[in-house]
Symmetry: C2
Subunit: 603 residues, 2 copies
């Protein structure tokens, strides 16, 4: 059996056209007029087909992994051909700057496409995915000359990009970095050092690889303030823009990992490599934040991907596999047993996966509106405001959705029972692949401290209040529905949302007050607070989707089965998943001593 | 870096000698007088050393896996030598029947040893582990002649055993089984069929393998009532007891799996194999329950193993790895950063793992008292009562501890960040290995329906009331502590236990009432109810352990650091983990519609 993939284009269009009214948002963008409903629909459909037909068939075979031989990396069979088709069809240039050959479409469309790429072939999708980070960094911080030299080839997909941050002794704490950049007379830098965990750091898909590398220029400030950002191409670029001589960067080895075997995770040795400074010296960390916002929303979408693919596998299996009889009476009298989807606990698992996949997709699309304005809003103020709004959503999306995606992937294995543990069915691969999403681009713990520390407390609750007032305003729309008994469930959802939002604000204030006494209080509450925020954000999305579904059903519009399934899944989410916030609320307020009192020596 | 293992002998002795007063229980056993405190201590210490020195070093290398070649399976390097040492030291015979060369010690001691075996090398430990199932089945249901023929060699470890249940189209629902057993004139049976997922089904560790196989005798009742149990040795046994000619069983292949690569998971083809009936015809399922109780408590201990090993790796790393500064002030001023154990969220993860490992260990030891009496209690009534008590604990232990063990293993990866995802550190292997525990011997969903259906509702709450009255009686001991302000935390734990126990009984009653209207209510609530039960059971254990620690500290006995760490971990469990029951309580009572209303076609 092989995993097959059916792209959720209909669901994406429901979000883009109906729930989120993305067209209204596009009107506030410099490049928004290109993204007409027809264009969006055509792009998502075509991208979906590419994922279904070209990438999904390589998902399981790609698990055989990359081969490293004397610095040369060969990707799994079929990866190169698929990449060539991807480039030829213009997919890499979707939201690239038109001045450099891009199609100039809003980021939200690329983010939606990225979800489908990640679902159909996570490891493969990281190759073009990493290039997006390099493109975003160069677009925002590169000189015109650098853009001329590198952007066109990156946007066309002829070259790919990487982000080189981690060293063996430091990942999160980049201030400890040892890679050195020595200024040369010609304005370039000579780079020496070793980077690890460089995704797509070496491969056979493109003629050149453009490494974006963090390094320290001697005599700069210590810690993260002394870090600068460099372009280090694998091959230096000749005057005519063609690939020139080999630069001093070598892939020393690739890691043996739990999953994403099809993506080469490289140790890169920079030995007297020639690098070109991006932005100002010592300002590299600031420039990296541009990349991180892009990367983290992409990683959040990988959480959706894990839940979606695992759901598709598990729901198909649950309708076919016969085992035991329904407790409430035989459902398949002609067969030797009932299909396992009749069993309530199997449904609980499937509906959890579905609620995460569809609810998470809505969360990502909701935030991608801010990404669009941040990138090409018409005014500086609009862009700055959107950056702050996106910055608030990002750790919640990344932390919550990757944890929930991984959890969902595990439920998919449970639905298969013992078969789920065996590689041939593909379900355990989703678990192995998706585990990376809770680790890279900042672990869940790092997202959590970013949220409670930087985005809530240092922000003095400003963004938190903005987000909660969005929820409150939305919930007010439900009021007219209160009198209609048919929609009492809807009304209850709105009431629940209001109460939870008030609780969220209360919890944030309490953590803030405690944190003034001892800042460890913020750390101890951080992951529980992040998860609470994620559940609330997802509840908001499920309420939005079910309101839209109710409206369309009442007006006789849309696909009734699709809309009813939205309402059923929303009901499930509110009844069976949202109660997690009851536990989280208490955990957030647990006494600090319970975490800190044990002396280090007792561990 | 390689994972190292330090056996928790001290913790086990704290449980055996102090918290559970196992010696009192041993007095009620036929074979209990052998297990003096000194003997128990010596056995656990020596077993711990064996695990530390012989098995742990093979843990990561064993992940390279077994090799199958034309029906012959070669285990990873070192496995065979370690097995030989294990047999020579007499470990396989620990709790075997003395009439067949066993040492006749109580099961609880073997269960404790098994936890250490599983922790130090999960895949390896399954080889002797499976033999225990075969031994238990033969001891309980074999004829004297069968025992003479097979038990001695199984108990000595010269031969190993397997349990052959699953076929490709049925695992849980064994009534659909297709393997056939045709009676022969000589009283033996001719067996034909294919079994899959047979752990340790073929290997190079022993001269012979004794398969215990479920098959159907023609013209028997349909479904599970028509299943019989057979002994099918790989080599027929000659008259003198030596290994004779090859039987008709072949290993067709071994599975590629997510983990436990060092254990061969075999497809076994039985082609005109000669089998010997165990017990009466068509009574195989009943006999299997003997095995299942043994196997499921062993699997529960694997949940403890996952948490323990991952905790050991993560706590060591957290004290060494330097990253960022503590939010509450620099803790390591001479280093470039603080060790990550200063960060509250890292402590949250470590303490969760530790609470699961130590709390889970206590849960297993608590239930192993019932296993001891069930196996060798002095009266029939004592044995029957203990069987029922063990049967009630078993699904909670197996379902809850394997889920929590897997969760803990994942936290261990999180503590390592990106390094956790790379194979060389060994942390991701624990995740991959431990995932099987939530699947084999009945998935979590199967444990959950066994608990709520068979062990709670069909039992008319009898065992549930017995277990809750144990908790209530225990909590009453805390009353004298109320007046002493030093122990107010203890008193609060007792109050919490009482309230939760009352809630547990209330929830069970409510599910029962709903289930009368529609039995799907039991299924929909089942896993949440199982997890609630697990948290309560674990809270009971943590309260017991911290009461004992407080007592010893007050009396100036014991190792103060060890005892204080128990209290600190208990505080953590009550403050940061037990609130999960708030969510579970609501999830248990969620409306059935939220799970069942979506039509099958919409999935």
């Amino acid at each position: 059996m092989a995993i097959s993939y059916s792209a959720p284009v209909k669901d994406l269009m429901f979000l883009f056209d109906d729930v989120m009214a993305m067209q209204e948002n596009f009107e506030h963008l410099n490049d928004g007029e290109l993204a007409t409903p027809d264009v969006v629909s055509a792009i998502l459909s075509e991208a979906g087909k590419f994922c279904e037909n070209e990438l999904a068939p390589l998902y399981q075979s790609g698990d055989e992994g990359c081969i490293w031989d004397a610095g040369v990396v060969t990707t799994p069979t079929g990866f190169k051909e698929a990449y060539r088709k991807f480039v030829d069809a213009g997919w890499t240039s979707l939201s690239g700057d038109p001045a450099y050959g891009g199609q100039g479409l809003p980021s939200s469309i690329m983010i939606a496409v990225n979800e489908m790429l990640a679902t159909s072939n996570w490891a493969w999708s990281m190759y073009p995915g990493l290039s997006e980070g390099a493109v975003a960094t160069l677009e925002a911080h590169g000189t015109e000359a650098q853009k001329d030299q590198f952007l066109g080839k990156l946007i066309s997909g002829d070259w790919s990009g990487t982000m080189c941050l981690t060293e063996s002794h430091c990942g999160t704490d980049l201030g400890q970095m040892k890679t050195r950049a020595e200024p040369m007379d010609d304005g370039s830098y000579r780079i020496n050092g070793t980077k690890i965990y460089i995704s797509a750091g070496e491969h056979d898909l493109t003629d050149n690889i453009v490494h974006i590398v963090l390094a320290k220029i001697p005599d700069g400030p210590s810690g993260t303030k002394g870090i600068s950002l460099f372009i280090i191409p694998k091959y230096l670029v000749a005057a005519d823009g063609s690939v020139g001589e080999r630069n001093g960067v070598q892939c020393g080895s690739i890691e043996k990992k739990m999953g994403i075997h099809g993506n080469a995770t490289c140790v890169l040795h920079f030995e007297d490599a020639t690098g070109f400074l991006i932005g100002r010296p010592h300002d590299g960390m600031q420039s990296m934040f541009t990349y991180m916002n892009v990367a983290r929303i992409g990683t959040a979408a990988q959480g959706v991907a894990a839940a979606e693919l695992s759901y598709q596998g598990a729901s198909t299996y649950a309708k076919e596999r016969l085992a035991m009889r329904s407790l409430s009476g035989v459902k398949n009298p002609d067969g030797p047993a009932d299909p396992i989807i009749v069993h309530p606990d199997v449904r609980r698992m499937l509906l959890t996966q579905r609620a995460v996949a569809e609810g998470g997709r809505a969360m990502v699309v909701y935030a991608s509106r801010f990404a669009d304005i941040y990138r090409s809003g018409k005014t500086e103020k609009a862009r700055t405001d959107a950056e702050a709004r996106l910055g608030f959503c990002t750790p919640i999306l990344k932390g919550f959705l990757t944890e929930m995606g991984f959890y969902s992937a595990n439920l998919g294995v449970q639905v298969f029972g013992g078969h789920g543990y065996v590689r041939e069915w593909g379900m355990e691969q989703i678990v192995r692949d998706s585990k990376i999403s809770t680790l890279y681009e900042g672990t869940t713990g790092i997202q959590a401290i970013d949220l409670i520390g930087r985005k809530v407390l240092m922000d003095k609750f400003f963004q938190l209040k903005l987000f909660s007032s969005d929820i409150m305003q939305f919930a007010a729309q439900f009021l007219p529905w209160k009198r209609d008994p048919q929609f009492s469930v809807m009304w209850k959802k709105a009431a629940k949302l209001v109460l939870l939002t008030m609780k969220w604000r209360y919890l944030a204030m309490r953590v803030g007050a405690r944190s003034k006494r001892n800042r460890d209080n913020a750390g101890a509450a951080s992951v529980d607070f992040l998860m609470f925020s994620g559940y609330l954000y997802m509840a908001f999305m499920w309420a939005k989707m079910s309101l839209e579904a109710h409206k369309q059903l009442a007006e006789g519009r849309g696909d009734a089965e699709f809309l009813k399934a939205k309402i059923h899944t929303a009901d499930f989410f509110f009844a069976k998943m949202l109660p997690a916030t009851d536990a989280l609320g208490k955990q957030i307020l647990a006494p600090l001593d319970s975490v800190m009192q044990m002396p280090e020596s007792s561990f």
